[in-house]
Amino acid sequence: MVHDIARPVDGTPLVLLIDDCPDVHRLMRARLRHEELELASCMGGRQGLDEAIRRQPALVLLDLDMPDLDGFEVLRALKSHERTMDIPVIILSGVQSSQDKVTAFDLGAVDYITKPFNLTELRVRVRSSLKMHHLVQMLAQRAQIDGLTGLWNRAYFDKRWSDAVAAFERHGRPLSLAMIDLDHFKAINDTYGHPAGDSVLQGLARLLQREPRQEDVACRYGGEEFTLIMPETTPEEARHVCERIRTTLHAITWPRHPERAVTCSVGLAGAATPIELSAAEWLEAADRALYLAKQSGRNCIHTAELSPRLAQAG
């Protein structure tokens, strides 16, 4: 789910039309030609369902009366599958029965269009559903973003980190995790006030967005603690990235307290080859390394020793 939400909300929305009648596809394509959307076609219920799960469109236009799998069954399946349950579905039907409409809404359809389509009505309903979907996606994304720093929040980190560890176990590519904690943050807050503290948090967040590479994921873990997930990165490479962050932060002159530099301590846990660690254990290892960095005088990086998987060692 995390990656779905992380997918850019902008861009041309994909609309999936599921209808067994070729004419409806032709007509719909002509009718929606000038809309900002990409139209994908499926000629049957089963294929449509598979395609919806695979491509996760922003909107499904669904015919009710199809020979292989009728629209209600497709709708029920879409609404019970984790990957498609949030996709809005508009029912298309020539059947003008109000019972069908009630059933469709009960099953989770957002709207209902009766064939033959009135051009204006079709466009307005499609637009309105796409807009609603866009807003809901944006809200879902916002719920995972930290308001002060604009970084991903703890909830997002938890999911993304488990995903990263799972991918590491599958593919055996290097993976590193850094926990970064501002030194003496409470003193900065107490001495210069909370707005100054906030600026420092935002300053470090900007570094975390700027310094790493595109595929790295920076999160505000909580308080003055940040995490940086670095896929495809060995502990040595990760150490360079963190070293750059540490020295750059140290060199910043802060407008609210130019006389006072700010530093951070970093706990690093990475592996270039398979190791036997759960996501939680790995995170703990990084946390312990952070503790040791604090113990050895702060403003430094400590790298955890992760032992290689026993099966691989022999």
């Binding site: 004419d23 032709r26 002509a30 020539g94 033959p116």
Partner: protein
């Protein structure tokens, strides 16, 4: 085969630039649809007739041929409800007759 002028059924979307190509295609394909309807009828494959009628019902009005859509919907409903054979026969003939009149 071209119907007499008075017998022609024109598309109400015949001048819509988005649709004119499609309407032409629909009209060109109509003889094949009529042939398929008649073949299914003669083979007494009423479920096939019903499906073809269903498709015409969904499509015809979209191309601007509302009377064809109405006739197809009527026949589809009659076949679904298993109405009297005489009525089905008459409505089938009505549909085929209307289909043969379509033109851009």
């Amino acid at each position: 085969m071209t119907p007499e002028p008075s017998e022609r059924l024109h598309s109400s979307h015949g001048t819509d630039p988005d649709l004119v190509e499609l309407v032409r295609m629909f009209v060109d394909e109509m003889p094949a649809r009529i042939a398929a309807l008649q073949a299914a009828w003669e083979a007494e494959e009423l479920s096939v007739v019903r499906r073809l009628a269903h498709q015409l019902a969904g499509a015809s009005a979209g191309y601007g041929f509302d009377p064809v859509g109405d006739a197809a919907r009527k026949l589809e409903a009659r076949l679904t409800d298993r109405g009297p054979a005489e009525t089905i026969r008459r409505e089938f003939d009505d549909l085929v007759s209307l289909c043969s009149k379509v033109t851009v």
